[in-house]
Symmetry: C2
Subunit: 191 residues, 2 copies
């Protein structure tokens, strides 16, 4: 898994081989079984993650019902809401597959950034990319009908359709499982 | 307006007085009349902004119709989609009030960060806060009905209800102006 981390850092940063070695030596790589909850509503939010293998779902429980918010797969970073603050989590994070992550805490980050400012600089750039991705997802969600959202998902994140249970995908798309099933049939006919 | 910038930097960063002076001396402060377009679909995205006074709306044109995506007021930063990349803008940015901004380009940022890494460090932290804010807005949008979205807006951004034209607010909430009008009447009765 250290190799996956090195691959990620080489592809997503301009860090030197030395810097990449330093990060991978100091990184905490952790494995979790499918079904593990990494974070619960009310927990302090002390860790962020980079998914090396598997899939993490973030969700909330609203009036007793799970609402899937986001899915994070290989090479995506999970910076949970309220990370690094004193405010408890509003979200749950669940491994919906056997999952391996690289985990960091604000203390680890701040120690490493203090010694190696170039690593912080790359993290700033990755953060900017994440802001742009969030903006794009939010915008797409707002301007699309349920069917368009499903077509977007097929186009931009087809792996989620294979890997995520249908009822979780439905709540992610803001629709009922029955609507998702109707949309899938309609789309299949058109293809 | 330089004073507003200094106030923002003192409140949102832990930069020293010296650093704040350096930024405010190098900053480009620009004024625009209400109605000015700062960015159009297809333009290169060369600038990001911090709003010192006024209100900027981002929108897209979908099948001939304006869809309002976001509103940025005092002390909010506008990092337009595709900023700092070669990809042209998909968004419009319009000043919907007389507006004063502090503007930056990737070149200005990179020069300043090269000399003063502590400024980049603060920008990374502001970026993390922006990611958290986007996550929260996106989540709220997904889990709420139109009426709940309006109530959320009343609670968290009441100034928008006063400052933004109703038809723009309606498309921001993902509803028609007629639905917004009905929701307002319903909510007014309950209060």
């Amino acid at each position: 898994m250290e190799n996956d981390l090195i691959k990620y850092l080489s592809q997503h940063t301009v860090l030197s081989e030395d810097m990449i070695r330093i990060i991978s030596e100091r990184s905490v790589i952790r494995s979790f079984k499918k079904g593990t909850l990494l974070l619960k509503e009310g927990d302090p939010v002390n860790e962020c993650f980079l998914v090396l293998k598997g899939c993490i779902r973030s969700y909330m429980i609203i009036e007793g019902q799970e609402k899937s918010i986001e899915f994070f797969i290989e090479e995506q970073s999970v910076s949970p809401g309220n990370y690094g603050t004193d405010i408890p989590s509003e979200y749950y994070l669940e491994c919906i597959e056997d999952t391996i992550v690289c985990a960091a805490t604000p203390e680890m980050e701040s120690e490493m950034f203090g010694i190696y400012p170039e690593i912080e600089s790359e993290c700033r750039k990755i953060g900017e990319k994440m802001i742009a991705d969030y903006q794009a997802s939010y915008t797409n969600y707002k301007i699309s009908s349920a069917e368009e959202r499903y077509l977007n998902l097929m186009k931009h994140r087809p792996e989620l359709i294979q890997r995520v249970p249908q009822y979780q995908l439905a709540s992610y798309l803001g629709i009922t499982p029955e609507s998702l099933s109707r949309i899938r049939k309609r789309v299949a006919k058109k293809l």
